[in-house]
């Protein structure tokens, strides 16, 4: 091997070590960059055989990333669970204030007042003031029931708006991934650009907070993203936007062609919202409607079986429209106080029918429970659902931290490690630099000797 061969080999080694220093320095600079995974320079020994003129040395086939797709996937899966729990807990938190369990306000307070007015009426069955008091408390009760129904309707509207916002966020993040795919196709150097890689993975992790999906990496480095593992969100440079349909009784998610894909969005914030909007909330609304209808039907039924002060059959005190929902439409009729049927048919002027009304307070009317008991169970169900959601949120938050710790352990940038690598490469660089300097001086001396 001649002097020039040695020079070429040493120069090549210097370039490699220079590149290694740049990679290590880039790792340190980007330690806090979201989504950045540290890189390492791959080194390979070149063939060395002086007899055959092979100068040896080192060359670099390229840069490799420490990123572990296993760890990234684990983080994304737990991010999906966290998103679902977080959203569910947030929506249920909004419901909790509407269901009073103390019995002093809202529906339980109104039920108490209504039955107290009936008890007072039973003492003086022909007193107009007592009769007016019953109608007044009936109006109050209907108002509290409607208020609660309105609150649930507002919670539904808020969930609908959140669904639209979440779908917008999903489409936005899919757009970022599509743009990165375009960059990868237009510039081959983007495939090894750690910045592009970091932005890709940041977008993917953010997307996991909103919805569950799977990815397929193509040979050209672009990502195919499939919502729920089925519906395309991004394929190459093409994005397929999803949209929300919230006009019907249930919220629906549709793909670009209008096909419903709601069942595919089972996790992430969108999954949590769909679960709340289409399952949890309608169940509570249904229970409230059942309570309202039962109170109205039973009171009306007892009144119909009695007679008023004029001996006429009793009229209905409550009315509602099942199509609109019993709770949302519950109201008091135009019944006048003297038309309230407090007496039994065979005992005009008595309080027999009033006593039957008063007996409703403890009577098992709905699934073996009194009206108050049924409402209490409904309020407890709301409370339990919220408690479960909060517990799930705490657990999923810690599981997400666990996955991130594993990812950092595998692919994160450690200052200590990078410091050691920097020192190692600096020493190697200094050694090679000295060798080049010695060879350069020797070459000058030899040239001068020849001259």
């Amino acid at each position: 091997m001649g002097l020039f061969g040695t020079l070429v080999s040493s120069t090549g080694a210097l370039r490699v070590f220079q590149k290694a220093l740049e990679v290590a320095q880039n790792n340190v600079s980007n330690m806090s960059t979201p989504g950045f995974a540290k890189q390492r320079l791959l080194l390979e020994a070149m063939p060395f055989d002086p007899g055959l003129g092979l100068p040896g040395g080192v060359f670099s086939p390229g840069v490799d990333s420490y990123r572990s797709e296993y760890a990234e996937q684990a983080v994304r899966r737990r991010q999906e669970d966290y998103g679902l729990s977080d959203q569910l807990a947030a929506e249920l938190s909004r419901l909790e204030p509407y269901f009073d369990v103390t019995g002093t306000s809202g529906i339980p307070g109104a039920l108490n007042r209504f039955f107290q007015s009936i008890s007072a009426w039973s003492v003086v069955p022909n007193d107009q003031v007592a009769r007016a008091g019953v109608i007044e408390q009936a109006v109050y009760l209907a108002g509290r029931v409607r208020d609660t129904a309105s609150s649930l309707a507002r919670a539904r509207a808020a969930a609908d708006q959140q669904i639209c916002n979440t779908v917008d966020s999903i489409n936005y993040l899919a757009g970022i991934i599509r743009n990165l795919n375009a960059q990868l196709r237009q510039d081959y150097r983007a495939a090894t650009d750690p910045g592009v890689d970091a932005r890709q993975h940041t977008a993917l992790e953010e997307l996991a907070r909103y919805v569950d999906y799977s990815t397929v990496r193509q040979a050209d480095g672009t990502l195919t993203v499939l919502l729920g593992g089925q519906t395309p969100l991004v394929i190459g440079e093409r994005q397929y936007e999803i949209h929300a349909e919230i006009s019907g009784a249930s919220a629906a998610i549709c793909d670009t062609d209008g096909r419903e894909i709601t069942a595919q969005a089972s996790r992430g914030r969108l999954g949590g919202l769909i679960q709340f909007r289409n399952t949890t909330l309608p169940a509570f609304v249904g229970d409230l409607d059942r309570l309202a209808a039962s109170v109205a039907d039973r009171v009306n039924g007892i009144l119909a079986g009695g007679i008023d002060v004029n001996g006429q059959p009793g009229g209905a005190l409550f009315a509602y429209d099942p199509a609109q929902g019993a709770a949302a439409s519950l109201r008091v009729t135009t019944l006048r106080p003297e038309e309230l049927a407090g007496a039994l048919a065979g005992a005009p002027g008595g309080n027999g029918n009033v006593l039957e009304l008063a007996g409703l307070v403890d009577s098992p009317e709905i699934d073996g429970a009194s009206f108050m008991g049924y409402y209490g169970a409904l309020a407890r169900n709301v409370g339990r659902a919220l408690e479960r959601a909060r517990e799930d949120l705490k657990t999923s938050e810690q599981l997400l931290l666990q996955a991130r710790s594993l990812r950092d352990e595998i692919s994160g940038v450690s200052l200590d490690e990078e410091a050691i690598r920097l020192v190692e490469f600096q020493l190697a660089y200094q050694a090679s630099a000295r060798l080049v300097m010695v060879l350069s001086e020797l070459t000058e001396i030899t040239i001068n000797l020849v001259r």
Partner: protein, 126 residues
């Protein structure tokens, strides 16, 4: 009041031990699991002490009973969460180990990651 301190204190300490265990389990590593195990043992010791106190007939007022029940409810939730974290750590590590085995040794015919085999060589001298 002394009775209240004796009864409520072990539950509170057990809860604190569980929180320490959960803090250890943020990192899904073997050392973390060992550290968490030590805290879990302490939590168990506290609960055994509480059970002994209750079995010995310690009198509880209604207020103490209600508070103890609430603390035990919280303890149950914390225990469930700690269990989920232990399972989560095991799932992550097992998955990672499978990946490493597969990368190092490939797959079996059933699609399971292969385990490294010890090479044996037979030599016959005669």
């Amino acid at each position: 009041m002394a009775a209240a301190v004796n009864v409520l204190e072990p539950a509170g300490r057990a809860q604190a031990c569980l929180r320490e265990a959960q803090a250890c389990l943020r990192l899904p590593a073997a050392e973390a699991l060992e550290g968490a195990g030590a805290h879990l043992e302490q939590a168990i010791g506290q609960m055994e002490r509480l059970a002994r106190d209750l079995k010995s007939g310690t009198a509880l007022s209604e207020g103490e009973r209600a508070e103890l029940l609430e603390r035990l409810g919280q303890l149950r939730r914390e225990t469930a969460r700690t269990g989920a974290l232990v399972e989560g750590a095991a799932t992550l590590r097992l998955g990672w180990a499978r990946l490493l085995y597969a990368a190092a040794c490939g797959y079996t015919a059933r699609g399971e990651p292969a385990r490294p085999e010890v090479a044996r060589r037979l030599s016959v001298e005669g």
